[in-house]
């Protein structure tokens, strides 16, 4: 059941979004006019999608400073910003905080529904760590011949996260038996990105001792 929060000081913005999305079966909607209330609620329960009106401003908290907080707290639920057409600068800024999309007032039901579908797809995707765990398990139990798909998935993880150590580590595990030299190279790359990556260290020691 998707949980959706809407933050805006404007009644029309809130009521429009709610009336469009409450027609989708299973959606649970909650609206906030105060950023503080929203933050409290998020601490108890994270939404599957959050709409933030960039115009919101209460004391120190503004639309943008909220986005900044979300990023610092590592909140990874999808956020969509709501804005008027003539505030393109604010939207540009918002995108620095990884919002998934923006919507300009006045918006149409179809625009809201499209964004909703996009957000739900994103929040259903396994997180990076879940994905790593899953692939690691598959490498452990892989059979000898047919693991082209597994290799592709590890590689796509590379492209999506070129600066993270885990994909290199996974690829090393994958290649360990086939080609130890490539495995060692990848483990070194992984450790270069994160010198404290223990699993990579162990694997590297093990491979080099076997040589």
């Amino acid at each position: 059941m998707p949980l959706i929060y809407v933050l805006s000081e404007e009644r029309n913005v809130i009521r429009n979004i709610i009336s469009i999305l409450e027609k989708v079966d299973g959606n649970v909607l909650r609206s906030f006019t105060e950023p503080d209330e929203l933050l409290n609620e998020i601490r108890t329960k994270k939404p599957d999608l959050l709409f933030v009106d960039l115009k919101v401003s209460k004391g120190e908290l503004t639309g943008i400073s909220l986005l900044d907080k979300f990023k610092r707290y590592n909140y990874n639920f999808p956020v969509v910003v709501v804005t008027t057409l003539n505030s393109i600068e604010a939207v540009k800024k918002a995108f620095q905080y990884d919002v998934i999309d923006y919507i300009s007032i006045p918006f149409t039901p179809d625009e809201i529904l499209e964004i909703f579908q996009k957000a739900i797809k994103i929040s259903n995707e396994p997180t990076f760590n879940e994905k790593i765990k899953e692939l690691k398990k598959r490498i452990e139990f892989m059979n000898k011949e047919d693991n082209k798909d597994l290799e592709d998935q590890i590689k796509s993880l590379f492209y999506k996260n070129p600066s993270l150590p885990q994909p290199h580590y996974l690829y090393a595990l994958f290649m360990k038996n086939k080609n130890p030299n490539i495995a060692i190279k990848n483990l070194k790359a992984s450790l270069a990105l994160d010198p404290n990556f223990k699993e990579a260290k162990y694997a590297l020691d093990e491979l080099e001792n076997n040589k």
Binding site: R15, N16, P106, F107
Partner: protein, 146 residues
């Protein structure tokens, strides 16, 4: 002429003119749970909208193309053209139809002579003068029969 209002899910409507007629239509569409945008050059006209109106309002010259773009008119399921000026209505309706390719349009005209112009472009109209005169004509013929 195929002006129809689809009412199953939320639709997006644009209303030009927020006078007596425009505000009634905007309130009605909003009350039925649809998204509505009303455009009028006079901010005070929005006071005609009810407290429960949940749509958006835009202040500006209704026939300006920039204004129509801001209203996302190309995404409208239907457009109501209800400013008090016939020529403005003709231009808005033709612009919506020919420039933005939206076909579901209804416009008000006061001067019955303008009905022809709209008919040529297949735009549905409502003409208060004709509505009243037809009604009154029926009244007269009823009186003659008695």
């Amino acid at each position: 002429m195929d002006f129809k209002i689809p009412f199953k899910k939320s639709f997006y409507y644009v209303v030009f003119g927020c006078g007596r007629l425009g505000s009634i239509i905007a309130n009605e569409l909003s009350a039925k749970g649809h998204s509505v945008v009303v455009i009028d050059r006079d901010e005070a006209s929005f006071e005609n909208l009810s407290f429960d109106f949940t749509g958006f309002t835009l202040i500006g010259e209704a026939n300006e193309i920039e204004q129509m773009r801001e209203a996302k008119i190309d995404k409208a399921h239907a457009v109501f053209v209800l400013t008090p000026d016939d020529n403005t209505n003709i231009m808005i309706a033709l612009t919506v139809k020919k420039y933005f390719n939206v076909n579901n349009i209804i416009a008000r005209v006061y001067n019955p002579k303008n009905i022809k112009t709209f008919a040529k472009y297949k735009i549905e109209i409502v003409c208060p003068t004709m509505l009243a005169s037809n009604r009154l004509k029926k009244f007269i013929s009823k009186g003659e029969k008695q």
